[in-house]
């Protein structure tokens, strides 16, 4: 099998961005594509509980590649890396399926089905964040609201809500993880692909809060 990432012949740009921290660059150029990356993986990978693993492993590989020198085509590199990683897994696990046909070029075929990243306006960005926010549990929403919108400190938020600071922290941990998930959720993806992820999150939230947050 050919080396897919190699085929695309990425040139690395050594000039860099005048000392911009890699972490900032990574958020802006890589993490921003999460919706489409998830869609891409979901289309190609039958076991949906593994999508998050593949995503995180892809991120790690891209981050490491970008450490020495910034990538000139970050988005292309990101998708090639994901593709490469899935091909690796297929080889390793010897999945008996269409994927074991010996030619993984089909992975390229489906790339056409992935829509190009849309540049969205500030209003849509806000709508996306708000919709993710609305999906948090009531307590989580309240804590995030106090901390991020009303600008209260953790101590003040705890006093305001009559909760221990530890509890506030717990809500924030959950809130951040769920926001990260929901904000990047693919509204075009088949709903079923996300059910198990949602279920896991809800289950976890229920355990943590002792509340039922399903609608």
């Amino acid at each position: 099998m050919r080396d897919l990432a190699g085929n695309l012949a990425f040139r690395r740009c050594n000039v860099g961005f005048m000392g911009e921290p890699l972490d900032t660059w990574f958020k802006r150029e890589i993490l921003i594509h999460e919706v489409i990356l998830m869609r891409f993986i979901a289309r190609l990978w039958p076991r949906h509980d593994e999508i998050a693993d593949i995503r995180q492993e892809t991120y790690a590989r891209v981050y490491e590649a970008a450490r020495d020198a910034r990538l000139q085509s970050p988005k292309e590199f990101l998708f090639a890396t994901a593709r490469h990683l899935m091909a690796d897994r297929i080889r390793r696990e010897r999945i008996v399926s269409i994927r074991a046909g010996g030619d993984i070029d089909y992975l390229n075929v489906l790339v056409d089905e992935i829509s190009p990243e849309q540049r969205v306006g500030a209003h849509q960005e806000l709508a996306r964040v708000t919709q993710a926010f609305d999906r948090l549990s009531e307590k989580c929403r309240e804590v995030v609201w106090l901390r991020r919108v009303k600008g209260l400190s953790q101590k003040e938020a705890a006093a305001q809500m009559g909760l221990a600071e530890k509890t506030i922290e717990k809500h924030l941990r959950n809130g951040t993880r769920q926001l990260a998930h929901y904000m990047r959720e693919d509204t075009l993806a088949p709903r079923t692909l996300w059910n198990d992820i949602d279920e896991a999150k809800n289950e976890e939230a229920r355990r943590e809060h002792g509340t039922d947050e399903r609608d």
Partner: protein, 385 residues
């Protein structure tokens, strides 16, 4: 990396982030955080991802100005602000998210949109929709030629979808029915009863709870009875498949009187598979019923849901014979795939596919297997290379 490990890293990352933002953060803490970040790139990318979400949540401040007090408005109440007037079109993320149009609208009878969300349709999907719209209208023309049925006319209790169609129909009682490809139902919902006759095809039911009005689906000689639950019924002549994803349903012969079975239902659930006795199904059950009886398989909820991926226009195959996969595809497409070679029929396929994108499926087969596809009239013939 395993799923548990991924989850564990994310949990630890969220802990670091929240503590850093807590206001009680020392240089020693910072050193320890950096150590953790340096320990593995997986740690670092998980942290950055959550940090980005945290940073982005600051956007909510734009909404805070108009909200008095310390509590956020209830979910979905944001359109009080002028921001969302034009952008509320974004899909309801919590809903069942069924693509397609509502069948009762006679102006759009084809219900062929195969994209789950309105508005932002990927280019490829739009093309598919276009191609399919042509196919659907051909089908309409043919059926109209027979003049045997009214297509979503004043006959409001009758709903059907063309081949490749997918449609969601709200019921007057608050229940919702999702019709799969080439399906037809008749509906009688009034104060006293809720009855659906599945004439053909497959439908998924989300039943509003109402103990006084059992929700009864008739499929040929079988009847499926529910109170408040979610299940699908697929009919192939007299073979009936029932998948339950929530609550409990009862499957029985349609010839039984409803009254006598209601009495039994209050007693113990007897999972007798004899053709005459009702069989009770709970969430995760997949039942196959025909004249000979009822066969029940108990699956995990995830597996049961996989049977219902058609609701989002997707076919999911796992280790499936190509012959079976092709049979599934053919339900959704006017252009049928024909397997000319038993060796091809036995190939195993795995993956997720748009039900109406038969071309992509065939292309994948050609690139992944020793299979040749040839277009012959309205058919795609698969043979060994």
């Amino acid at each position: 990396m395993s799923t548990e490990r991924t989850n564990e890293i994310e949990e630890t990352a969220s802990d670091w982030l929240v503590r850093r933002e807590s206001g009680q953060w020392t240089p020693a803490d910072q050193a320890r955080l950096e150590q953790w970040l340096d320990a593995s790139t997986l740690n670092r990318v998980a942290f950055l991802r959550l940090e980005l979400a945290w940073e982005e949540s600051a956007r909510l401040k734009a909404l805070g100005a108009g909200v008095p007090g310390n509590r956020p408005p209830p979910p979905g109440q944001w359109n009080l602000t002028p921001f969302f007037d034009s952008h509320r079109a974004a899909p309801d993320l919590r809903g069942t998210h069924v693509p397609g149009t509502v069948a009762a609208d006679p102006s759009e009878p084809s219900a062929v949109t195969d994209s789950p969300a309105p508005g932002t349709v990927p280019r490829g999907a739009r093309q598919r929709t276009g191609r399919f719209a042509v196919a659907a209208s051909v089908l309409l023309a043919v059926t109209a030629g027979f003049g045997t049925y009214q297509f979503w006319s004043s006959d409001a209790d009758r709903y059907r979808t063309p081949v490749g169609g997918l449609s969601s129909v709200p019921m007057p009682d608050g229940s919702k029915v999702t019709l799969n490809t080439a399906s037809e139902i008749r509906v009688a919902v009034n104060e006293n009863e809720r009855r659906i006759d599945l004439r053909q095809g497959e439908a998924f039911f989300e039943v509003a709870k109402d103990p006084n009005r059992p929700f009864v689906v008739k499929a040929g000689k079988k009847r499926i009875v529910a109170v408040g639950t979610k299940f699908s019924v697929r009919r192939d002549g007299e073979s009936v498949e029932v998948v339950v994803t929530e609550g409990k349903v009862r499957i029985e012969d349609a010839s039984r009187s409803l009254r006598s079975s209601a009495v039994e239902a209050s007693g113990s659930a007897a999972p007798a598979a004899a053709a005459n006795n009702p069989v009770f199904l709970t969430a995760g059950a997949i039942a196959y019923a025909d004249e000979a009886g009822v066969l029940v398989q108990r699956k995990s909820l995830v597996e049961a849901e996989a049977h219902l991926s058609w609701r989002s226009g997707v076919l999911m195959f796992r280790e499936q014979n190509l012959a079976d996969a092709v049979a599934e595809f053919n339900r959704y497409n006017v252009r049928k795939i024909v397997i000319a070679d038993p060796a091809v029929a036995a190939l195993k396929v795995e993956g997720n596919f748009r039900a109406t994108n038969v071309d992509a499926f065939v292309r994948l087969l050609e690139s992944g297997f020793q299979v040749r596809a040839a277009a012959e009239g309205d058919q795609i013939v698969l043979s060994s290379r």
